[in-house]
Structures are given as structure tokens and as C-alpha cells.
Amino acid sequence: MVNIIGHRKIWLLIAGALIVTSIVFVSLWGLKFGIDFTGGSLLELSFGNRPTTADLASDLASFGAENVSIQPVGDQGMLLRFKSVDETRHQEILKRLEEKFGEVEEKRFESIGPTIGKELRTKAIYSMVIVLICIILYIAWAFRKVSKPVASWKYGMIAVFALLHDIGVPIGLFAVLGRFAGVEVNSAFVAAVLTIIGYSVNDTIVVFDRVRENLIHAGGDYENFDKIVNESVNQTFARSINTTLTTLLALVAIFFWGGESVKYFALALIVGIGLGAYSSIFIASPALVFWQELAEKKRK
């Protein structure tokens, strides 16, 4: 049996360090929000003869497009972002580019007004809060029969703490990616975060389920709580790793072969779900023991 609970301080420290690092990154650089949250235009073009980013930028600036940012995509493509424009202006820009740089194919155009952006932002925040609340409620309900030696609501709290770790680290990672690779946080990222929440709590629940079962078997032997938890973690270890691994296999396939637009969506999921396995084994269960010990000490 692997002694996971015995080294609980190390695991909790690592998790704490990861979270703190993420918080530092986010507060330092913030997140780079995509146009679905800020409003704006996104234009993906494929050039017969691709101009340099600088040429394109200076030309668009002289044409009066505001806040242009340009990113090369693949061999022929360019991704342009600028202020939200109406259809006439959009056509003018296309025509202008065609005159200037020859053959241009428009692959994608999105223009999102500021109202819609604001709405999506609010919705994104609401939906995250709602999911978290639902999950706390569900766990509290699922563990309602287990109240000794740890109260059922504590399972819920710890599961949520593990969750915050699972979504906090991808958010931190996207702050870094946003800063250095121009990766944006868009509604797909929110979807990824919500999925991570749903999926990774699943992992934690499986471990806790095992604890619940073993506690019942132990028939009130609360003295060895840490041993029971450690045994439970070991029993579910293979399962946690294996299910996460199969899911990650599918996600890695999406990341490498699924195309540009779902690439970072897949990355967020890979990181979040991978961490989900870590947190259920190395955070949730040690935290359970840790809390129980604190309570114990207080009692004594």
C-alpha cells in the first residue's frame, strides 16, 4: 500500500503552491478576454501571398481600423482582431485588403457588439456560481448518511476546495498563455471550466464513496481514520488514474488533431482533468484527514 496520507503535508503544500502561483499570475497579468466577452471583430483570412504582420498592421491602421491585433495562423492564414464593425465597414476592409495584397479568402468573420459581450460575461459568471452551488448541494445530499467522524458538509467543502484547485490552475495557465502566446479566454474556456468542475468532482466523489463504504465496514473504528482513508485512496488509485488516462487520451487527440479552434479548449480540459485526478488523490483525502485531526485536537 502506498502511504499517501502519511505524506499529506507535502501534497497539500504542492497544491497550495500551485494555487498561489496561479493567483499571482492572474493578478499580475490578468486574463486576455476574447471578443465574445469584450465585443469586437475577428477576421480570419487566407492569403494567396501572405503579407508580413507588420505590413498588414500598418495598412489597416492607415485605413482607420481601431485596436488591430494580428496573429499568423498556419501557412497562409492571418487572424485579425479589431473593434466591432458593421457590415459595410467589414466589406470595405475586405475590399481594401484584396486591392492591396491580392487574393484573399475570408474563412471566418465574427463581429460582436458590446451588449452581447456584456451579457455573455454576466452569464459566464452566473453559470460558474450556479454549478458550484449545485455541486456542493449534491455532495451534501449524497453524503447525508455519513456524519461520523467527519460531518457530511465537510466532504462537500473539501470537494469544492479540490475543485477550486482544479479550475484555479488552468485559469493561471491561461493568464500565462494570454500574456506570452496571445491565447484568449472565451466562452469555450468557460465551457471547459464548467466541464472540469463536473468531471473532476466525480473523481473526488469516487474516493469519498470508498471512504464512506470502508467507514461503515470498520463499524465505528474512528481511531484509525487516517488508515481507513489511506486504504480507500489506494483502492481507488488505479481507477482514478485509468479513467483520467482514457479521458486524457481522447482530449490529447483533440488537442493535436482537432484543429485550431478547439485546441485551447482541449488544453484547458487536459490540464483541469489531469489535475482533477491529482486533487482527488493527493488533496481531497489528505485534507479530510487533516481537518479531522484539527477537530480532534480542539476536542482534546
Partner: protein
């Protein structure tokens, strides 16, 4: 051989009775469903089989039921448009109705594009009401946007009894106004600073900042302005400047202006009186004199006229309206104000002279030149920064109010001709609702005008003579025949009940869509294979069974996508691939439990049962939490994320089914043959609880 015979005999005997038989039936059922679902997913091979059968045996079977996948815009190419309907002019209770009207009209328009399954939906978000238009596979998005946007807006309005009452601003509105104007002032100061900087390009600044749409594009150029012209308000400020000078801020209630004088020129102005004798038929003439008589009369007056009695002569004789008061005084005027012959004559005369008889389109004139002077004209450019006035924040109630009768109730429009004047008109025919409404409107407005608004402009304001109950109305607005035809065409194609505004557009080129389909197919396949290979390597025989159930799972989920139908988007496919990874989860849970039971030395059959029983609470809890996330995601409702949430939910539900029902049936099916194959189940011979 004997063994097999005995096997079939046994099977036959126990065909409907034993538990074993039940397993057999279930296996057959599962296979049958898989094959059917597989054909539904990909009917090509079935159809080839049917063709082959027909060729070789002559037996004709029908081809398989064809149901295409419904692909989202990002895979098919196309556009997703969100329009905001401006229902602010409409009473609250009629808003939903008006929005439905917009939807119907846009739908009619959109159907004309020949796009397969266009989507036109209404939604409300907070206060704003929207119409979402999805056109999949459309080639010319720009043209489509133009056609939807050009759908005419037709409204019938009646007079507002309390027109023009000013509204009193609330504190909030006052704050809004002040904030706006403070910001305007700040901007104006910044612009002024830039305009006064060395080497400043005033024209470029005007293009960037000016709120005056009319002159913005030409760098704010107003041309030469005069003391009495259109821009006379600006004359005094311009007069203070030299060429190249930039004014300080010129502030009024409506705007803050910055002026630059580009050029100054001198120009002559004259002051004159004139006497007019017109003849019947001349412009604006109310006299019944013939041209000859008019000529005789003016010749006579010419002989009498002197500088002294000129004004009196005008007062007595001039046919110009109001001349008896004004004495024909025209005041000061410059060039390009009067008709050409009149201008030339006046400018060439000397001060104090009376002209010869002069003929213009208005009649015969005698001109007395009072005075002349030289004035300066300034060529100026300006930048306007907009301010808000109280009436802009809370506009005075409008002259015309909404009646509920709009393009929505229109059945048909056609070109017809006024029987009296033979002018082209557009005749309108309303539906029953429109007939009733029009009847009511005309009844309560007899003797009063009712205005017909097209694209927010009153194009015809007829007086109601008597109530009109037959639902026929006419727009007569001095059309040419082609204009009337075009209008009728546009109205027939649909007239909007309220104005709309495009606030969001997402367009995906068809090429990108195809690329995405290819990519996601490859990604899906690789992901699927990777999962299967992993399962077989790690769990051996059960892994192989779970791979089979995973294939069943995938085939069935795809069939469900067609049947429900689920719109497949890139994110949706990602959701499906993800669900494949997750579908294994339940299997893994069960197998791990099963292994534990086997290690405890239980026989395979009861290990299977126990494994399923014990794994169930975990499976249930885990999948429910994912479903909760999906539900919320579905509510979070951009179409991309909806697709993901939907495929993932379908996937999760199906994975439960496949693990609990199919994997279990497979395991039960093979259990009797593998009593001793511990290796096949991934167990070391020696019982041990130690792992990894």
C-alpha cells in the same frame, strides 16, 4: 461435432426459460440494434449490399432510411446573425407581437435565399428583443445581410393628441446629460490641443473626431461661408481669425465646435428693391394679365419711375405677394442668391439707378439699386463634438404615434394608378387583423390625417374622408413607375413592423467548415482507438469487452445524434470524443471492483454481480455531477457551447446505459467459459491486496 449438437439441443430446450437464454437474447438484441444503428449512421454499405443483391438475385429491397447529420454552422459554413429589434416606440403589450412580426418577415425574406433549413428565432435578453438568423451553407453573406436589412419598415401612424410636450428630466437623466457633456468638453479640449499643435493636420483630426457626418469625410470643410448664408452662426467667430488660425472652443447647447480658417476672399454684396409685373402662367403668379398686357404695363411704369417714387410705385403696382408692405425691398444679397439674369443686372448697375425692363421666369422686373458693399468670406473647416440636450435625452412626445398597424398585417402590395391624375400608386391589401385595425383607425380619425411611414419617413399623409372597412389602402407619394414597382416588390417580400439593427455576426467560410469536419473526424478516430487500445492492454478480456461495448456506444450515440437531432458543431464533436473517454469510466470502476472481488477468491459470476452493485453509487454520483454541469452549460447558451453540452449529456447518459447494460451482458455472456482465466481478467494468480 457432437459437442456442438448437444450445445444447440440444450440451447433449444432452454430457449425461453433459463437465465442463460436471457443472456443470449440480450446479446442478439444488442447486435441487432448495433447493426441497425450502424446502418443509420452510415447507410452506404447497406445500400451497396442491396444493389448487389438486386443485381445477383433480382430481389429488390428498399434502400436504408436516409437521415443526414445535422451539422452546425462552423462545420457547414454559414452565418449566425443577431438582430436587435427596436421596440421602444411600441407599447409594452404589443412588443412580443411586433417581434413575432419581425421574425415572420425575416423568415419570408430568408426563404428567398434558397438556404436549406434557415433558422429564424426570437429571444429576449433583459430589455432587448432579438431575432437570431442562422443561414447554413450560404455563399454570399454580405448580400444576405443587405437583403434582410433592406426589408422595408412600414407603419401606419395617427396624430398624437399631446404632441410636443417637453418632458422633465429625472435626476438620472440629468446626470446622464451632464456626464456626457463633461466628457464631450474633455474630448473637445484634447482635440483643440492637437489642432493647435505645430504641424497639426486639421482635416485628419476632423475625420477622426468630428461628429458632423456630412463634412467629416472632407476634413470638415464647409466651403466659403458668408454673413447671411447657411453657416452664418459661425461667421463672427471666423471673422476673428487669420488664415490658418484655429478658434477656441465654440460651445452651444448642442455641440462644441472648433473652427479653422483656411482662406479668406472679398466679395461684393448689393442692396436693391424691385417691382414685379407677372403674367398668367409665370412662376408663382396669381395675376390674370396676359403677357402682352404685362409688358405694356411695365413699360409704362418704367417711364414713370424715379429713385424717389420707386418704392411707392412698387407698393401700388407690384404683383409680388407682400410688396405693398415691403416695397419690394430685397435687402443685402451676394452672388448665387437670385436667378441669374436678375443677379447679373443688379450687380452691373450703378447705385441709385433704375434698370431697364428685365424678363425672368417670374415676370417683368424693374430694379432699383440701393447700395453696394464689399464683404469678406471665409473658407473654414470645423470639428464638431456632440453634446446632448435635454430634448435628446427625453425627446418631446412625437407628432405621430404607433397604431399597431404595420407591415406585419400586409397581405399584398401592388402598383396601381390614380384614376384622376394617372399617377402611379402602391395599393395595399391587409389581412383580417389589419382590416379590423385599419377600420378602427380610420373611424376614430375621420377628418384627421393618418400617416404612412416607410423606413421611418412619412411618405404619404392622407386625410381620412370616411372610415375604410375593406382593408384597402393606397400609398401615393409622387412615385415614378419603377419606384412604385420596387416599393411594391419590397413590401410583398415583407415589411417590418419595427426597425432592426445587426448587433452580432459570426460567419464561417465553407472551406474552413470542411477542414474542420476532416480534422475532427481524424481526432475522434485517434482518440477512440487510443482509448480502446489502452483498455485492452490494461484490462485484457474485460477490456476487450468494454471496447466492444464502446463501439456499440459510439454507433448508438451517433444514431441518436441523427434521430434527436443534435446539431453537431466542432465543440459538439469535442464533447462526443470527450464522452468516449468518460464512457470508459463506468467500465473502469466496475472492472476494478470486479478484480477486487476476484482477488478475494469469489467466483467470476458473483464477482461480476458484486462489482456492478458496488460500483453503482460512484458511477451514479460521478455522472450526475457531469450532467449538472451540462445543464448549466446548456443554459449558458451560445450555440457553440450548447452543442458541446448536448453531445456531452447524450454521451454521458448513453455511457451509463452501455456500461450497466451492455458490458454487463457481455460479461455474463462469457462468464461460463472462463472460470479459470484469471490472467485474462488481469489478476495475478496469488491472492493479494497489494497494487501497483
Amino acid at each position: 461435432m457432437n459437442k456442438i449438437k448437444r450445445f444447440f439441443a440444450n440451447a433449444g430446450k432452454k430457449l425461453f426459460t433459463t437465465a442463460r437464454a436471457k443472456v443470449w437474447w440480450l446479446i442478439i438484441l444488442i447486435l441487432a440494434i448495433t447493426v441497425l444503428a450502424g446502418f443509420l449512421d452510415y447507410p452506404k454499405y447497406y445500400d451497396q449490399g442491396v444493389n448487389w443483391l438486386k443485381k445477383t438475385t433480382g430481389i429488390a429491397l428498399p434502400e436504408f432510411y436516409k437521415l443526414p447529420f445535422r451539422l452546425g454552422l462552423d462545420l457547414l459554413g454559414g452565418t449566425h446573425l443577431i438582430y436587435e429589434a427596436d421596440t421602444s416606440a411600441i407599447p409594452d403589450k404589443d412588443r412580443d407581437d411586433a417581434l413575432e412580426g419581425v421574425r415572420d418577415v425575416i423568415e419570408r425574406r430568408v426563404n428567398a435565399f434558397g438556404v436549406a433549413e434557415p433558422v429564424v428565432q426570437t429571444t429576449s435578453a433583459g430589455d432587448s428583443q432579438r431575432v437570431i438568423v442562422e443561414l447554413a451553407g450560404i455563399k454570399d453573406v454580405s448580400e444576405a445581410i443587405k437583403m434582410i436589412g433592406e426589408t422595408p419598415l412600414l407603419e401606419f401612424k395617427e396624430q398624437n393628441p399631446d404632441v410636443g410636450t417637453m418632458q422633465i428630466l429625472t435626476d438620472e437623466q440629468k446626470k446622464e446629460m451632464n456626464d456626457y457633456n463633461t466628457a464631450a468638453k474633455k474630448t473637445a479640449n484634447e482635440v483643440l490641443k492637437k489642432a493647435r499643435a505645430k504641424g497639426a493636420d486639421f482635416a485628419a483630426l476632423a475625420e477622426e473626431y468630428s461628429a458632423d457626418e456630412a463634412t467629416k469625410a472632407v476634413g470638415g470643410d464647409l466651403g466659403f461661408i458668408t454673413k447671411d448664408g447657411v453657416y452664418s452662426d459661425w461667421y463672427d467667430d471666423a471673422a476673428k481669425l487669420k488664415v490658418g488660425g484655429v478658434s477656441s472652443l465654440i460651445e452651444t447647447d448642442e455641440y462644441i465646435g472648433i473652427l479653422k480658417v483656411v482662406d479668406i476672399q472679398d466679395s461684393k454684396e448689393v442692396k436693391a428693391n424691385h417691382l414685379l409685373i407677372c403674367w398668367e402662367g409665370a412662376d408663382r403668379c396669381e395675376s390674370d394679365l396676359s403677357k402682352e398686357d404685362a409688358k405694356k404695363k411695365i413699360d409704362e411704369l418704367k417711364t414713370q419711375a424715379t429713385a424717389k417714387n420707386f418704392v411707392d410705385l412698387v407698393k401700388e403696382n407690384s404683383t409680388e405677394p407682400g410688396a405693398s408692405e415691403s416695397g419690394g425691398d430685397l435687402g443685402w444679397f451676394g452672388k448665387d442668391v437670385m436667378v441669374k439674369p436678375f443677379e447679373t443686372a443688379t450687380f452691373e448697375m450703378k447705385v441709385g439707378e433704375i434698370s431697364d425692363v428685365l424678363e425672368t421666369q417670374f415676370g417683368y422686373h424693374l430694379i432699383y439699386k440701393d447700395d453696394e458693399r464689399t464683404v469678406k468670406e471665409y473658407r473654414v473647416s470645423r470639428i464638431l463634438v456632440d453634446k446632448k440636450t435635454a430634448s435628446e435625452i427625453a425627446p418631446p412626445s412625437e407628432e405621430w404615434i404607433y397604431t399597431g398597424l404595420t407591415g406585419k398585417q400586409l397581405v399584398r402590395a401592388q402598383v396601381q394608378f390614380d384614376p384622376n391624375t394617372n399617377e402611379p400608386q402602391v395599393g395595399l391589401e391587409f389581412n383580417d387583423e389589419g382590416k379590423t385595425l385599419f377600420g378602427e383607425i380610420t373611424t376614430r380619425n375621420v377628418g384627421k390625417p393618418v400617416a404612412i411611414f416607410l423606413d421611418s419617413e412619412a411618405i404619404s399623409v392622407p386625410n381620412v374622408q370616411e372610415p375604410i372597412k375593406d382593408g384597402q389602402a393606397v400609398i401615393s407619394g409622387s412615385f415614378t413607375i419603377p419606384e412604385a414597382k420596387l416599393l411594391a416588390q419590397r413590401l410583398n417580400a415583407g415589411a417590418l413592423p419595427v426597425p432592426i439593427n445587426l448587433i452580432s455576426q459570426e460567419t464561417i467560410g465553407a472551406a474552413l467548415g470542411q477542414e474542420s469536419v476532416a480534422k475532427s473526424l481524424i481526432a475522434g478516430l485517434i482518440g477512440f482507438l487510443a482509448v480502446i487500445i489502452f483498455m485492452i492492454l490494461y484490462y485484457r478480456l474485460p477490456g476487450f469487452l468494454s471496447a466492444l461495448s464502446l463501439i456499440f456506444y459510439a454507433v448508438l450515440v451517433l444514431a441518436f445524434f441523427k434521430l434527436i437531432p443534435v446539431t453537431l458543431t466542432l465543440a459538439g464533436i469535442a464533447g462526443f470524443v470527450l464522452s468516449v473517454g468518460m464512457a470508459v469510466d463506468a467500465n473502469v470502476l466496475i472492472f476494478e471492483r470486479m478484480k477486487e472481488e476476484l482477488r478475494l477468491g469469489k467466483p467470476l459470476g458473483s464477482a461480476i454481480d458484486e462489482g456492478f452493485k458496488r460500483a453503482w453509487p460512484s458511477i451514479r454520483d460521478g455522472n450526475l455531477t457531469t450532467l449538472i454541469s451540462c445543464l448549466v452549460l446548456f443554459w449558458f447558451s451560445t450555440s457553440m457551447i450548447k452543442g458541446f453540452a448536448l453531445t456531452l449529456s447524450v454521451g454521458v447518459i448513453m455511457s451509463l446505459f452501455s456500461a450497466l447494460f451492455i458490458t454487463r451482458t457481455f460479461l455474463n455472456f462469457i462468464a461460463p467459459w472462463f472460470h479459470k482465466g484469471a490472467w485474462l481478467f488481469g489478476i495475478r494468480k496469488k491472492n493479494s491486496t497489494k497494487q501497483i
